[in-house]
Symmetry: C2
Subunit: 478 residues, 2 copies
């Protein structure tokens, strides 16, 4: 057991912080609520960006960059939007040594400024669709912060699209939800539930919000990404208009969708263990660490040529920068092993004098701590499959955990008990915000989503007893 | 000639703006001095990022992310630094609906906040060197702005490193200067002069600043990147200390280095012409546009199968996303040609019915507007060399232009005349800030750098007549 990491059983929030500290993923910034993403943590974000960006481009999107600062007057043009975001804004009042005529908000999200620009660029239906994404920092002033999960400044991507018809807007909204789901499951090895948010939980200014929700090891849900159908709300507020096919003036239909550095929090809380970070191999920036072990020059001369061969095999298979060689001589072997374990490196190769003499290596897989002894030929032939098996094992484990902890509940008593046990609950709901808020007040549980693909089922609301047409998913959440 | 672009001869600043507008590279933001980088412009930044990031990683650097907001008190810890940057800062005074206890500055550069974090992370000489880079937005309040060249918010990368010895700090400073030079010349096809800045022109807080300077078509110099040896100035201001090899407390030696979206301005002003943007093929995100030409279904049936073959050849050679197919039927051929020319796409393939019948394509190279007729086999065999030749031709042209317009001058009269003619001037200087400022006052020319690799040469200052030990380079600049 790692001495610098509190076990999950003992104190889950402390475990989360310890994993981040031990893995050198992030640090508190001197400005309250802000974080520093350290190189090991930032490499995770780069890996996420690379895979997602490819998926965005394959679905026809291009990147752009819009300004950090938004005039205060923009924020007030869409009524729900300003109500949702204005209280969280950081405000610039001075620039270049002078007080500004109009205060500027640091973007909490960019629908307003992007809507303003689209209204300038859009002339004809021929200019549609506009399919743009932005990778950026945003700021939402937070009082209770937690590294990666909730910080005042965070990094994210925000897609903003404009379409000719309501149908195309809805298709885009669901397409990007599907992109997020595929990305989360295939790349992060995190199974996600998809569905629609309730009126109460949707994005301020959206017609409807879809989401992907992940099951964390403490039973809480984490909203990992959202895709919003904005209807014509922002088009009307920002005059995003064009000459239609019949030459009449039309408002565009817009969408927005985003994921953030919060995904790193999800990775930690879904896969990691009491030894620290565990990463699915596909997304791990460093996939293997080669650790040669020797006590003196004689041993070094036996070990190093063999270790270099193993290193070369791995670099050829996995990429040069994906394999680390740890040749430190000023740290004990156990500390060197722990170092790479805590950074979540999927495979560790331990190579001592006896391994070298036998022509083998000891390969330790991070997620199950299992050792296997392989010849160099076997290493070469099997390493990719070993990593793919690990990817699958992590996904299977996360899915099994979610399934075991998701229950259908039909009484209010069972509901309260299940929430206390950290379960996700499928329950009937009468469809009113009033009931939703009363349940939240009583249990802190929220409706995570009205799940996609759930069979219609007549029933009675678990709280009010009123008629319900289907189950929704309740859980505690971050 | 493009009707929507003012010729360089007529109005150079207007030409620059017209190229940006016609190429849809960027737009003014509603907040004064800020810009929107449109998809075509942002693709250039992504291309720059990709190549530079590879070079940074190959030289051992990793990426991280530090907060946008810096406490005001941090800015004041290094005396020269605060004097240089405080007047340009945007200040956040309110957050979450309340006035803040301490105002926060939006980073104009991150030496202070990064120095603070390094002081927390650094314990022993074993932790050195720290080799970190950040891709980020920064803000320097500007009154007179110009898209890409000078805007209040811009995108950049800033490397920040810490070292054990002064020698290692200096080596890093020069290594990154060499990385910038190689990148500018090999990738952007822009020859750059490297050298050291004078005391007057160096970075506020640095011991010494090195730079790469490019020659623009109007004769002005553009500082395209800088690499600063910070000595122990920031280490002392921010307590970046460690236990040395002899166990005594030591201050680290630090460096910082950066390039920004200004490089896009350089690309425009070095390579573009009166038809709009011209891009060197290696950095061009889209390397070729295939433009099938037909007037009716019969012609379409002849042209399209052939055009699709040409498209496939190009995509196989250059990458799927690097080749565009323009199948618009609602625009005239000439407008379609201009469209891709103004976006700087290096090659255009015009394929009409007669080309299809002959099995050939008409390839037009953007930089020299030359047409060549190639069979599909020739296209396949030659396209990569055609693009490489274009890359070289653009570099050679830019180098020849700089050489033709760089003169050695030994009298004050010749100096004034040469500046008016838009020349770069090699002249003797007495080494004093006083003379430097008087020359600037009289001519607006500044010392761009004390060039690397210039032979020592005894002489007399072109302005004061005092003794000088070598020539420096003067020019007007952006």
């Amino acid at each position: 057991m790692a001495k610098n990491i509190t076990p999950r059983e003992k104190d889950y929030p402390q475990w989360y912080q310890d994993v981040i500290r031990a893995g050198e993923l992030a640090d508190q910034a001197p400005v309250k609520g802000c974080m520093v993403i350290r190189p090991t943590g930032f490499a995770l974000w780069e890996s996420i960006q690379q895979d997602l960006d490819r998926r965005f481009k394959e679905t026809g999107h291009v990147n752009a960059y819009f300004p950090l600062l938004i005039p205060e007057s923009f924020m007030t043009k869409e009524a729900e939007h300003v109500e949702g975001f204005a209280p969280e804004c950081a405000v610039v009042t001075h620039g270049g040594g002078k007080e500004l005529e109009e205060p500027l908000m640091i973007r909490p999200t960019s629908e307003t400024i992007i809507g303003h620009m689209y209204s300038k660029w859009l002339n004809s239906y021929r200019d549609l669709p506009i399919l743009v994404n932005q990778w950026a920092n945003v700021m939402r002033w937070e009082m209770r912060t937690r590294l990666f999960l909730r910080t005042s400044e965070f990094l994210w991507q925000e897609g903003h699209t404009a379409h000719e018809t309501a149908e195309e807007g809805q298709e885009e909204t669901l397409q990007m939800l599907a992109v997020y789901k595929a990305f989360a499951e295939e790349y992060l090895a995190i199974p996600v539930l998809t569905g629609r948010k309730t009126e109460q939980e949707k994005f301020p200014g959206a017609v409807a919000t879809w989401c992907i929700e992940g099951f964390m090891q403490d039973g809480k849900a984490l909203q990992m990404g959202t895709s919003h159908n904005l209807g014509q709300n922002f088009a009307k507020a920002f005059e995003i208009k064009y000459a239609g096919r019949d030459n009449t003036e039309q408002y565009a239909w817009t969408t927005s969708w985003g994921v953030s550095t919060r995904l790193i929090g999800a990775l930690i809380m879904v896969h990691s263990d009491d030894d620290g970070l565990v990463l699915p191999p596909r997304m791990a920036p460093q996939k293997a660490a080669v650790v040669p072990l020797f006590k003196n020059d004689e041993e070094k001369a036996r070990v190093m040529p063999h270790a270099e061969k193993a290193l070369q095999i791995l670099r050829d298979r996995l990429g040069r920068l994906a394999v680390i060689e740890d040749t430190r001589t000023d740290a004990r072997p156990a500390d060197r092993f722990f170092h790479w374990a805590q950074k979540g490196v999927p495979c560790r190769l331990e190579i001592g004098p006896r391994d070298a003499d036998k022509g083998s290596v000891c390969l330790v897989t991070r997620h199950d701590r299992k050792k296997q002894f392989l010849s160099l030929e076997e290493l070469d032939a099997q390493i990719e499959q070993i990593l793919e098996d690990m990817q699958q094992a992590l996904f299977d484990q996360a899915l099994a955990r979610r399934e075991e902890n998701t229950v259908s509940v039909d009484s209010w008593e069972d509901f309260q008990a299940a929430i206390k046990q950290g379960k996700w609950i499928r329950a009937h709901w009468d469809g009113t915000t009033e009931t939703e808020l009363k349940i939240k007040e009583a249990t802190k549980a929220t409706i995570r989503c009205i799940p996609d693909g759930m069979e219609p089922e007549e029933g009675k609301c678990v709280f009010s007893g009123q008629p319900s047409k289907g189950r929704v998913v309740f859980a505690l959440s971050y």
